[in-house]
Amino acid sequence: MRFGVIRFPGSCDDVDALLACRRVGEAELLWHADRDLRGVDAVVVPGGFSYGDYLRAGAIARFAPVMAQVAEFARAGGIVLGICNGFQVLCEAGLLPGALLPNTSLRFVFRQVALEVASTDSPFTCGCEIGRRLSIPVKHTTGRFYAPADQLRALHAEDRILLRYAPGHNPNGSLDDIAGVCNEGRNVFGLMPHPEHAVDPLTGSVDGLAIFESIRAHVAGRALV
């Protein structure tokens, strides 16, 4: 399968995401100003500080030309993964519910946290078991997930919270320890932790691979249908 990783001005974890994707398939960078997804099977909106995160994290990036294609791709059921800044961009773009607010500490935090898989009913977690713990780093200043009461209720009712911070590991004050949520169609997923920084035993844990492998398995399964 082929991943496309979007590069905005100010993306920082774009190459990291590219390398992580290449552990399970092919991957290439997509330029923010191009209106072309080059036929990839899944899109990754990577971490970093797109457009400097000025104004609000993700606020300016969501208007990049490529994002119109991403929205269309998502509407058609395409797999979209937003990591950290990518999550912020997808929320700003309305492709995911809620918003990300400044951490309650008001500080940037880097921390290796424990996550728990809360739902396996998604292309992103289908290779895991419910309750499985993943050790993955977070690094952000604006990662406190918030959604108004009605949206939050829907997230719970529809089993759209895919990852939570394990008890005691919530680094930012996110509501209900939410680390990652998907859209109604379950094909768009955003999370604050960085699975692409947990794919190599040399540099840390390999638990993040579970996400990328799930995507590959899902896409492979779909191809068979």
Binding site: R56, F63, G98, A99, L101, P102, T104, L106, Y146
Partner: protein, 76 residues
């Protein structure tokens, strides 16, 4: 026209910045301060002020978490 957009966190959403200010003031000897909220100020020259509300909704604020108010910078 020079306009100001005042952006405030929506009521009910935790505002740690406002809290931090509220906590820090007494230590500096400032008492009798309450209900502090921190938001954003955007000042700009606009040719067509009628565009402002739309600008606010689409870019300058996130309506899910923020309220805004537009004021004329000349008159405030």
């Amino acid at each position: 026209m020079r306009a100001r957009v005042l952006v405030k966190p929506k009521a009910g959403i935790l505002d740690p910045q406002g809290q931090a200010v509220e906590r820090a003031l007494p230590a500096l000897g400032f008492t009798g301060v309450a209900n502090v909220h921190v938001g954003r100020l955007i000042e700009l020259d606009v040719e067509d002020p009628d565009q402002l509300p739309e600008m606010c909704r689409r870019l300058l604020t996130n309506p899910l978490i923020e309220d805004f108010e537009i004021v004329d910078a000349g008159s405030s």
